[in-house]
């Protein structure tokens, strides 16, 4: 694949990658590595999966799409906006329960969410954010949802859920492991409790940069990228 790309003037090339916001940190790093290797520029657009899907349908100049959930890719494949043969699973996301230790609440298991001193639990909106849906599924499987639903605050996405916790307005929240930094206090949620957060990548059919796109989707599965993805807490399939 390396070779095919070399025929083109690489400096002029820009690859546009649209990705769900939970990938921000991991993808920015992978992008850097990719740029070093291929000498072209990668431009990321991070946003909510739903917004990005709409933008691709309506002709956004995007070459590669990395949503947080499989459903959206399938929808785009049905519409002919993503090339079916390029659909590829490259990582599996994990969710965590994050707590704000400044508030003196100790959460050692999901069970503790029932405690009275916990008044607000932030999760991304399960109606459109895949990580929020996984959070809701986990709480349901754990038999907690009905007991704590009244404490749940929906945020726009996983980053905002984390902000609610970081600013101390929600004592706990469920967010993506990939967003967690060293100084945070978190608890990994058992992946058996929710449907797998399959991270799929695909190439946009109206892209006129499909060669380079292919190079990127291949690169995401390369050992170099796997290291980064693992570093940010993704499981590799």
């Amino acid at each position: 694949s390396n070779k095919k790309v070399e025929n083109i003037h690489k400096e002029d090339l820009e690859l546009h990658v649209a990705a769900a916001s939970n990938f921000k940190f991991a993808f920015e790093k992978i992008g850097e590595l990719f740029e070093q290797e291929f000498g072209c520029k990668v431009i990321f657009q991070f946003g909510s999966t739903g917004n990005l899907t709409q933008q691709i349908i309506n002709g956004a100049p995007i070459d590669v799409f990395a949503p947080a959930s499989e459903n959206f890719i399938d929808e785009l494949i049905d519409r002919g906006d993503i090339l079916e043969e390029t659909k590829d699973l490259y990582a599996i996301g994990r969710i965590v329960l994050v707590t704000n230790e400044k508030l003196n609440v100790k959460v050692e298991s999901l069970e503790d969410l029932k405690l009275d001193e916990i008044t607000s639990i932030a999760i991304a909106n399960p109606n459109h954010a895949p990580y929020g849906l996984a959070a809701k599924e986990a709480l349901i499987s754990f038999g907690l949802w009905d007991l704590i639903e009244h404490k749940v605050v929906y945020s726009e996405n996983v980053s905002q859920a984390l902000q609610f916790v970081e600013t101390g307005n929600a004592q706990v929240g469920i967010t993506a492991l990939s967003l967690i930094t060293e100084d945070m206090n978190y608890l990994l949620i058992d992946k058996q409790l929710h449907n797998p957060l399959n991270q799929i990548i695909g190439i946009v059919s109206h892209s006129n940069n499909q060669q380079l796109g292919k190079a990127f989707t291949d690169f995401v599965k390369s050992p170099k990228a796997e290291v980064v993805l693992k570093e940010y807490g993704y499981d590799i399939p």
Binding site: G50, N125, F164, T167, N169
Partner: protein, 219 residues
């Protein structure tokens, strides 16, 4: 169909418009009538809430009145008032985003009131307060109503800052515009269209109503 977002939106927009109108008339009057050092900078400053993306404004608001903040601690610990993630926070967010609109409208309409009328009222022995209420305000009425209309519409549509400080709690803080956003994000376009029609109808009815009151008032 769950109507609570609709009631909530109307409630939040009504409270917010009321407070915005009062504060906006006050500040607008100060900007129109008082001379003080740094006035033009102050006048530009009050416009600033408009230039920040509402979500960002919401973030700053969250760290200003949130639980961990100085103000938040006083509110919670001393006064036992919890704002964050309640509809009251949505009102505060709405006030902040719509205030610049109100202030500008009030300021320019007060500036265009003929000052000789205010002078005559002075010679008739009236206090500045009574001149304000009986001469300036009625004569600036058109612009003030224009400001109220803008403030109401803006707070019906407020979403970014609200989401940040009030959260999105169905039945408690999920306003119509947050519900619309949710529907669009979730790909439920029919529901979104329906809610858009709903919010548009409510707004049009409210504006026609404001307009009607305004007409009757004039004679």
């Amino acid at each position: 169909m769950n109507w609570s977002p609709m009631y909530l939106s109307i409630k939040v927009a009504s409270y917010s418009t009321l407070f915005t109108a009062i504060i906006g008339i006050l500040i607008g009057w100060v900007l129109a009538k008082c001379k003080f050092y740094g006035k033009s900078v102050f006048s530009a400053l009050v416009t600033l809430p408009m230039v920040l993306p509402p979500t960002v404004l919401g973030y700053y608001l969250l760290i200003t009145i949130g639980r961990q903040s100085f103000i938040g601690k006083i509110l919670i610990e001393r006064l036992n008032i919890n704002l964050i993630f309640t509809w009251k926070a949505a009102v505060i967010a709405s006030i902040i985003v719509s205030l610049p609109l109100m202030i500008r409208s009030v300021q320019s309409s007060i500036e265009s009131v003929d000052t000789t009328l205010e002078d005559v009222a002075r010679t008739l022995g009236k206090s500045e307060l009574s001149i304000f209420f009986r001469i300036t305000l009625p004569l600036a009425w058109k612009g003030i109503v224009g400001g109220i209309v803008l403030a109401f519409a803006r707070s019906m549509g407020e979403f970014g800052a609200t989401l940040m400080v009030a959260g999105n709690i169905p039945g408690k803080t999920q306003t119509l515009s947050i519900a619309i956003y949710d529907a669009v994000q979730g790909g439920k376009y029919e529901q979104a269209n329906f809610l858009v029609l709903l919010i548009s109808s409510i707004t049009i009815i409210a504006l026609l109503f404001i307009n009607k009151i305004n007409m009757e008032r004039k004679g």
